[in-house]
Amino acid sequence: MTDILDLSLAAARRALADRSLSAVELVGAYAKRVEATRGLNAFITETLDHAVEAAKTADQELASGDAKPLTGVPIGIKDLFCTKGVQTTAGSAILKGFIPPYESTVTERLAAAGAISLGKLNLDEFAMGSSNITSHYGPVKSPWTRAGDDRPLVPGGSSGGSAAAVAARAVLAATGTDTGGSIRQPAAFTGIAGIKPTYGRCSRWGIVAFASSLDQAGAMARDVQDCAILLQAMAGHDPKDSTSAPLPVPDWSAALTGDIRGLKVGVPKEYRVDGTNPEILALWDQGLAWARDAGAEIVEVSLPHTQYALATYYIVAPAEASSNLARYDGVRFGQRVPGKTLDEMYENTRGAGFGAEVRRRILIGTYTLSAGYYDAYYLKAQKVRALIARDFREAFQQVDVLLTPTAPTAAFALGEKMDDPIAMYLNDVFTVPASLAGLPAMSIPAGLSSDQLPLGLHLIGRPFDEATVLRCAHVLERAAGFTARPQGY
């Protein structure tokens, strides 16, 4: 038998079902792997003892035929999902020690589907970042390194812990959240698959909010099929979230037909900006060629307002964040730094509890919402956002799915790009437009850079048409045949 850790989620599920593998063996193997990869700093809180216990129960269920879709499957949970009785930090000092008395809808669904959590995965503080360096609990290291260069690389962010843990085979799959690219960009950096479904597909209830109109949970796994399986268990209408879509969830695994003949794949011409890394452009062309070879029709489309997406995002997201993060005030939960007056306590608590990037975004957001500036910034951005969404609507009258690169570069080293916030923000240039429009989008590993780092391709679909995104991604994934593994892991 192959190494247990080499089984995909789908394969592991089959092995559990036919009892050729026990949940105790599977979870035990992953628990060991979690310990062996601690150097990556992917976990903030491990729950291995609990997982091993849960595996025993899972085996009883498997034996008695009571197995659910994910019974016995070891996964990791981004530490932005509130988990009952288990510390939830959002990567921030201000929430250190916070033990939620409740469980997020998504993780509750995963538990109800039988998944077993190995712990809470590291992330950029409050999911604000593209590198995982803003976590109070230390940066996550990517399991990948450049050929001939062992400087540690970032796993991307904000779901960097999730990405690193999946890539290093410390979990079979992981939850992520994506506000402007936080699932897709780290998936691309670490050579795994990651899908952000349509806004409203997964409940936001119990997920620490960053930017409410953009935040969406999604799945990160080794391949497209595993993403489909995990997302299936996460998604669905939740009456506790007013923005949750009251729509049935289709069978996404069944959507993976391998057939995209006649599918119209759009290429947004504005994404081909001057100065884009030629390796990235080459991979993009390769992706289009794979699609064409599989019988899809390639259509050039125009998204004229896409060039304004990043600036729009960096108004909308910080504005919402400045309000969402007002509740971290040292009164009802989390850390408090004393002060003589109430205001002094607030200022001390929030000054010390938030890291530099979070403080920066709160200040930007506070400023752009403040009297006299609201119209020029926030309102303007929401108007441009409406235009960006309209561009997509029009494009999707011509095509079924859009194909772009996921990120403008491969992973960078810890310490690079750290001084200039705007240079860092540019990481999200390809992922942010779909976020602003609330569209489903997915990154798949598609190739390697010249220094042997993974590069991703990015698919964007119509609202609630994750099925087409997954189907197309699945075909491209097979064509790419990406098998590279991180050196040393």
Binding site: P246, M345, R350, R359, Y367, A386, L436
Partner: protein, 95 residues
Amino acid sequence: MALDQKTVARVAMLARIKVTEADLPGLATELSGILGWIEQLQAVDTSDVEPMTSVADLTLPMREDVVTVAAQRDAILANGPEANESFFTVPKVVE
């Protein structure tokens, strides 16, 4: 749009984030840089555009008027820094 230090201090006060005098100049430069960058939006003609209220193409769902929450004071107060058995506490406020 360049932010002066006074504005940064006012915004920090509004956001209740302590910023030391020493940090003000650097922060003002940084925030001015970001604001200058997002200024590019002013180039977009949005004269006939309604601002987006939500990407979800839905109207507000309503729940029934039913009490679904049992008394749970201990759970509510459990994470409160310096909460006592009945209340959250803060430094005394003079109205």
